[in-house]
């Protein structure tokens, strides 16, 4: 690769003054290739390990399509994607929002979209950000390694789309839609948080699918056997069966395996939604890390491009302006404030790690004795690979960054007419402030803890879900509606109990309203 990049550089050198890759804002396929080769070479020098890249040039309409299908190149059909599309389209038409200028897919090869409307600088920025930043994160971070199989995802999407389509042909769009609606409502509860998943692979998936359909039904039938087992039940002693033996956190998995009335194809649909949830699970847990990492690297790579004399001052100034917009953090009292900007926070933390490695202060030596003065590339690489947002913030958020953001933590008790400032960015507050911020990125803090507690298998087959409250926070208004979806899949009555430290505080019930 380096050879080709050298030859293109020399061949264009006589045309372009001083060895710049390009002059002017327009892009071309040749230029994109040259930039990609240059940026790739720099990334390799910094030791970024990436999947191969597939850079696709698309129009803004196509970007809207991609946007509406959560960035996936293909997905099964469902009205909710249509809703998203209409929303994006409407906002875009009214000029309420610009389109995301990049979408990148965790697959191998790693697919990144460039919009044709962007100028050369933006294309280079997106290449640096997505094709080398996000890409290396997808390949390196332990969550992505554990939960997703980048080589298989596209095949799996093809499989899922086809399967859903076949179901629609066989059982009607309506039926499929009902099942998918219910699955989507429970999607966030379709992941094993504590168990390691089996990587999803398409060959396996296809080969085992038929087998699974049969076996699954068999297994379910065993659970719901009502005829006494003659061999052993001679003693006639009724032993109470407890099911599930332990509470189940993965609601979709539980339904797929145990719901008594589902047809095999419905179980397969649940599985598809579950697999999608699993695929997105790492992304939900690494927003700050992932965006921060990509921003840190687009910043570093683009500046290096300038240092090596490949781009001119105009280019780098324009880049810096875009970059500043990306990592801008409005303050809490600004009308533009909508929470902590993950790009800004992540970028600040990574940049600060580099600073601490290169120019440590006494404060850094006190707080981060391991990092201060260490090799920055190794430290950064370690930080990228082995954490998720919560632990990343706990480990690496420095007092300097907290001061720069002027973070402050508040608590809000519903019974108290005041909110209380618990800590600010000072010596006393750093430790707890960091914990508070980290907790904000903990999925089990953000989402309620709801598990399948008990099924009345010998009686009316009703199921009890248990919500263990966190800080006495109740469930939202959707609860009964989501339970209705759970009921549709389960087939029998559903009850949900909210428990706090003292005991049960609230019960939601969902009986047979629809038949």
């Amino acid at each position: 690769m380096s050879r080709t990049s050298n030859s293109t550089a020399t061949s264009t050198a006589d045309r372009k003054k001083e060895g710049f890759l390009s002059q002017g804002p327009d892009w071309s396929f040749d230029l994109i290739q040259q930039y990609d080769e240059e940026i790739g070479a720099i990334a390799a020098d910094f030791g970024l390990d990436t999947y191969p890249n597939q850079i696709e040039i698309i129009s803004s309409e196509q970007m809207m399509d991609a946007y509406a299908s959560v960035g996936m190149p293909l997905g099964y059909n469902h009205w909710s994607y249509g809703k998203q599309f209409l929303e994006v389209e409407q906002n875009y038409k009214r000029g309420r929002m610009g389109l995301a200028y990049e979408i990148v897919i965790n697959s191998s090869p790693c697919i990144a979209y460039l919009m044709e409307e962007n100028n050369m600088m933006m294309q280079a920025l997106v290449i640096a950000h997505a094709c080398y930043g996000h890409n290396s994160f997808f390949k390196g971070n332990y969550l992505f390694k554990t939960w997703t199989d980048a080589t298989a995802i596209i095949d799996y999407l093809v499989f899922a789309k086809k399967y859903v389509q076949q179901c629609e042909e066989k059982y009607g769009i309506e039926e499929v839609e009902l099942t998918l609606d219910s699955c989507h409502a429970l999607m966030n509860f379709g992941v094993d948080r504590y168990k390691r998943p089996i990587p999803l692979s398409i060959q396996e998936e296809k080969a085992r699918q038929d087998e699974r359909e049969k076996a699954l039904q068999q297994q379910v039938n065993d659970l719901w056997r009502t005829i006494p087992n003659f061999g052993k039940s001679g003693d006639a002693k009724h032993k109470e069966r407890i099911f599930p033996e332990e509470p189940q956190e993965n609601l979709l998995y539980f339904l797929e395996k145990n719901a008594p009335l589902l047809k095999p194809w419905q179980r397969e649909l649940i599985r598809i939604v579950r697999k999608m949830a699993q695929y997105f699970y790492p992304q939900r847990q690494t927003q700050v890390m992932n965006e921060g990492w990509a921003s840190f690297w687009h910043y570093t790579l683009m500046n290096e491009l300038y240092n090596r004399g490949k781009v001119n001052e105009g280019f780098i100034l324009e880049f810096l302006q875009s970059h500043t917009n990306v990592v801008y953090q409005p303050e809490f009292d600004s009308p533009y404030y909508s929470g902590v900007n993950p790009y800004a926070l992540g970028f600040a933390i990574y940049t600060d790690i580099k600073r601490m490695c290169e120019n440590p202060t006494d404060e850094d030596r006190h707080w981060f004795p391991d990092i201060a003065g260490a090799d920055w590339l190794k430290t950064l690489d370690f930080a990228m690979r082995n954490f998720k947002d919560e632990s990343f913030i706990l480990q690496f958020l420095s007092p300097k960054v907290m001061r720069d953001f002027r973070f402050f933590g508040i608590e809000n008790d519903v019974l108290d007419p005041f909110v209380e400032v618990k800590e600010i960015h000072n010596e006393d507050g750093f430790q707890r402030l960091r914990q508070r911020l980290a907790q904000q990125y903990n999925l089990s803090y953000r989402e309620p803890n709801i598990q399948v507690q008990r099924v009345n298998i010998d009686g009316d087959r009703s199921v009890v879900l248990r919500h263990v409250m966190d800080n006495d926070r109740p469930l939202n208004k959707d609860t009964v509606e989501v339970m209705r979806h759970f009921r549709r899949l389960w087939g029998f009555d559903v009850r949900l109990e909210s428990w706090n430290a003292e005991g049960q505080v609230q019960t939601y019930a969902c009986g047979n309203e629809e038949s």
Binding site: Q33, D36, G40, N53, Q54, I55, E56, I58, E61, A68, S69, H78, W79, Y81, G82, F85, E87, E89, Q90, K93, I173, E177, A185, M187, N188, Q329, P330, E331, F332, D333, Y337, G339, V340, R406, F407, F408, G409, I410, E411, N412, V414, P417, F418, E420, V421, H425, D428, L433, R436, E447, P448, I450, M469, D470, N471, P474, L475, N476, D478, T479
Partner: protein
């Protein structure tokens, strides 16, 4: 190594299926919005898309999540004057105890906006005309068409020279020549080989008799091949066309309205909306459509659209004058053989007492035979008068061709229109 792919030429409507799914799911909402639009919009811009609003609660996808209450905790950036332990009063009213302080209140407000999107003009009209079918259109196509068109119907072996298909004919000729001269050419090849062999083997000492015989053979065979006709009548192929009855794609719509003193501008507006609906409806079903406006009080006159709706006249009412004029115009300009004729009449029900019976006879004996459909709407809050009763007879006499409805105010137009043109499963049923 990176691959760079230009995807811009790929389809850009990847989401269109999902969009359709969405529209299907929210059909009820859209239908209601369209219905409101038809009633409320100004007439001239009925023919465009519509903004559809769906309440957020109907479109919301539910999820388990934390509600308001309990002890929330959050970290904000941008502290200016707060110190540890500061207690800040919560904003009163609206967002009482919003989970996590100031930042979130704004978000929640936004979240409750209604979901708004645009449907295109075509989609709009599809909803307007959903489940409606033009009465008797099919019947006209099957029974009474007098126009024909030629349609290509393959290749035949007989025909007129003007329809000769040269490519097919030449292909056949070539094949025939191959077959017919096949044996002779084989023999020719053999003879030529033999002659060559003879010349090679004998080296000067040539058997002249044998050679002469071979030359003779070759000459004969060549002549035989030559004689194979280049083009034979068997080869000729002709394009074939069949005559197909062509459904008439032209329609004319007669708008007949009473403009006597008793008709107020409001009544006329109601009538106008009805006519517009009918026009849009026909417009979707016929390639070409003409509209004839006939207004009448005691005498009838063909007028322009502007004059039809907005000029005022006074005086009594004789409906038959308009019907006579319509009949005359049909005879002069719109032959029922090539035109689909629709008539829509609007009135407040007033008529000269003796005239209603004349009207009935005129329609029953003459006009109705030429029409696809005759609709009559009576726009009045009062009781029906003689015209309604006369037409009522017509309706029971010609249930498939004649239909009438009573409209009181603007809101009635669309339901009545739908009702009139409801896709009729049993055409014979009286509506």
């Amino acid at each position: 190594m990176s691959y760079i792919i230009d995807r811009r030429l790929n389809g850009k409507h990847k989401s269109s299926i999902n969009r359709q799914r969405f529209l299907r799911r929210y059909r009820q909402h859209i239908r209601k919005a369209v219905e409101d639009a038809v009633n409320e919009r100004s007439i001239t811009d009925l023919d465009r898309g519509e903004k559809i609003t769906i309440p957020q609660k109907d479109i919301h996808e539910p999820n388990f999540g934390h509600g308001e209450g309990g002890r929330g905790s959050i970290v904000h950036p941008g502290n200016k004057e707060y110190m540890t332990g500061d207690r800040i009063p919560k904003p009163q009213g609206g967002g009482s105890g919003s989970g996590s302080g100031q930042g979130k209140a704004g978000n929640q407000g936004e979240g409750e906006d209604d979901f708004v999107f645009q449907i295109s003009q075509d989609e709009f009209l599809d909803y307007v005309f959903e489940d409606l079918a033009l009465p008797n259109m099919l019947r006209k196509e099957l029974k009474e068409v007098k126009e024909y068109s030629l349609r290509h119907a393959g290749i035949v072996s007989e025909g007129t020279p003007s329809k000769l298909n040269i490519v097919r004919s030449m292909r056949n000729a070539y094949a025939r020549r191959m077959v017919m001269s096949g044996g002779a050419r084989k023999k020719l090849r053999e003879a030529e080989e033999e002659k060559e062999k003879l010349l090679l083997e004998s080296e000067g000492d040539v058997d002249q008799a044998q050679l002469a015989w071979l030359d003779e053979q070759i000459k004969l065979l060549k002549e035989k091949i030559e004689r194979t006709p280049f083009l034979d009548t068997y080869d000729l192929r002709y394009n074939h066309h069949v005559k197909e009855p062509k459904p008439s794609s032209k329609a004319v719509m007669f708008c007949v309205m009473d403009v006597s003193g008793s008709m107020t501008q409001e009544t006329k507006n109601i009538a106008k909306r009805f006519f517009i609906l009918l026009y849009l409806f026909l417009n979707r079903n016929y390639e070409k459509i003409e509209v004839v406006f006939i207004r009448h009080h005691t005498s009838a006159k063909e007028v322009s659209e502007e004059e039809f709706f907005y000029s005022r006249e006074t005086g009594g009412t004789i409906v038959s004058s308009a019907l006579k004029l319509m009949n005359k115009i049909i005879d002069e300009r719109y032959s029922p053989d090539s035109w689909n004729i629709y008539a829509a009449q609007a009135s407040d029900g007033d008529n000269w007492d003796d005239d209603s019976d004349i009207c009935r006879k005129l329609v029953a004996d003459d006009i109705i035979q030429k029409l696809q459909f005759f609709t009559y709407i009576e726009i009045t809050p009062r009781d029906h008068q003689s015209l309604w009763h006369a037409y009522d007879v017509l309706q029971s006499q010609f249930p498939d061709y004649f239909s009438m409805r009573h409209i009181v105010d603007v809101g009635d137009i669309y339901p009545v229109f739908r009702d009139l043109f409801q896709r009729r499963l049993h055409e014979s049923n009286k509506q």
